[in-house]
Symmetry: C2
Subunit: 332 residues, 2 copies
């Protein structure tokens, strides 16, 4: 069923049908209702390809995540999907992994589908901050469509980012541990991304201010991997750990169990993301919540505004900063 057949049945031209479909006000009530009647009867839906070919949009947003099975990413996608649906946008999903090449490749792929905007979820897309060229592909993408980066700062025209105050969050978390009397506080992370660096900076600042010694370990973001890694080293002597994710934090708790140590008495543990995992362990995990839901919803709101501005000069904020919150539970 296409627009020609509908036009025929309604006894009007295709232009009129198109007008009705697009809610033009230059159609008489009579005609409109007749056309709507036919549309309804035959169940006509416009062909999105034909629409897209002319308008060069399909009301679809491309979303890139490094790993959709990560509980943090998948919640973000859920929030985005929910917000986008309210504005009638669909979601084309890419899973890019953490490698530069795949990120670029997936970006090209989404762009080739003519998405209306691109949303990158995760600080991995902001690169390590060492080399500007790491994020060049994002700037290139931004030449075609507005780009949004969730939880990562990328500079450039047509790029809008939201970052959470990871540095302050970890700084505060470390302070809390110090105040509780911990003196050998270690920092465990799985990533060398932009946000991982900010976290570390906050960590080091707090530790050094207190005249303590910062120790950082690099581990996999998997519960058992972390536990096993720690068990293999017998030169460990920390009395607290701040982790770059909840899974890592729980890995530390597993290590404690094996060693017969108590959390938080012998080892205090603080995780990151405040995911469902934080509620699963015992004691439950103190975790830094970076307000993903709010960031996602704000991002969609900004996106709509950018669309409305239509590429014109606008005063929409390029960089949004969102505070984190330390959710204290039994592990600290």
């Amino acid at each position: 069923m296409n627009i020609y057949q509908v036009a025929e049945l309604a006894g009007v031209s295709i232009a009129t049908v198109s007008r009705v479909m697009n809610g033009s006000d230059k159609v008489s009530e009579k005609t409109r209702s007749r056309v709507l009647q036919v549309i309804d009867e035959v169940g006509f839906t416009p062909n999105v390809f034909a629409q897209g070919l002319g308008l060069n949009t399909m009301h679809t947003i491309g979303i890139l995540v490094p790993n959709i099975s990560d509980i943090y990413m998948s919640s973000a996608v859920a929030y985005l999907q929910d917000s986008l649906a309210k504005y009638g946008y669909d979601l084309l999903l890419g899973n890019s992994g953490f490698e530069q090449e795949k990120k670029e490749q997936q970006t090209a792929l989404l762009l080739s589908k003519h998405v209306d905007a691109l949303i990158y979820v995760g600080s991995t897309y902001a690169g390590s901050g060492k080399d500007e060229r790491e994020t060049d592909y994002i700037r290139r993408a931004a030449e075609q469509v507005p780009v949004f980066v969730i939880n990562g700062g990328v500079d450039g025209d047509n790029i809008y980012s939201s970052v959470c105050e990871d540095e302050a969050a970890v700084y505060n978390a470390a302070k809390v541990l110090i105040k509780k009397g911990c003196s050998k506080i270690w920092f465990l992370t799985d990533s060398r991304s932009y946000s991982a660096i900010k976290k570390r900076t906050g960590y080091e600042r707090a530790i050094e201010e207190a005249g303590l010694n910062p120790v950082q370990l690099h581990v996999d973001n998997r519960i058992h991997k972390v536990r096993d890694y720690l068990l293999q080293h017998d030169d460990l002597n920390f009395d607290a750990v701040i982790a770059g994710s909840d899974a890592i934090a729980i890995g530390v708790m597993k290590y404690a169990v094996q060693k017969g140590l108590c959390v938080p008495e012998d080892i205090a543990v603080i995780g990151y993301n405040n995911s469902e995992l934080a509620l699963a362990c015992e004691p439950e995990l103190t975790s830094i919540d970076n307000h993903t839901e709010q960031i996602c919803r704000d991002t969609v709101e900004r996106m709509i505004k950018v669309f409305e501005a239509g590429g014109a000069e606008n005063n929409i904020k390029r960089k949004l900063t969102v505070p984190c919150e330390l959710v204290e539970r039994g592990s600290s």
Copy 2:
């Protein structure tokens, strides 16, 4: 950059460029390499809308999940995405929730984007099994594109489903508990879907065979909700629980902690899905693994076969049955 400009630069007609892009063998080596050269230089990518308009496909698969932030669904999506990418397919994602109306609506939406196939993830799409009409919208969708249901059996033309042997899995799990001496084994679930019913059937069969008394509770799929629900009732007397999900199982463990009961000595617990949550708790959770990864990969393989058959009569299995596996850990 479009095909006309490429043709111009290469000094050939658009037909030839099109042939080169599509790997036709009716192009001389000379011409081919000249065209490829130009394509590469100018970075030409064919417009997918124009392609789609003619061919009515965009090499995109629609995936529907009830809740992408659920760890089980998001892993499934990750596996699907990964397998699909190998065949050059992208993924249009819909989050439908559990309500009939939204499911139908999202289905229509994905179909309107002319996806090449539809994949439903989760037994919720198989309905409760009480009323055939609940799944009519799936059969209607299948008139347009091949439909695949992961973890749910739906009958109909052009519909391919994979179900795991939930009944046998729960039956065996219950047997294991009985053998360990448990006599008050309860079943907790959050769902009334097809697979929930199969699980219950397996549970009841094992319990009744042993001359015991089946008790089923209906709860939310949230750790703390389950714990609080149980805490509010003081007429509970179970010595084992089989749960419809890992989150529910962990909720039970939380209840045990509050009550000062030991797992598995006082209460043995078995979860479902073998997700990351099962590793986060202490003791770690015995859980039924329904081999999502394998199901997802098989589904994609079957999809490709269906495409190759091109709607012709084929002997591709309509219903795939996959066994589950009880992964025993400390909680049972």
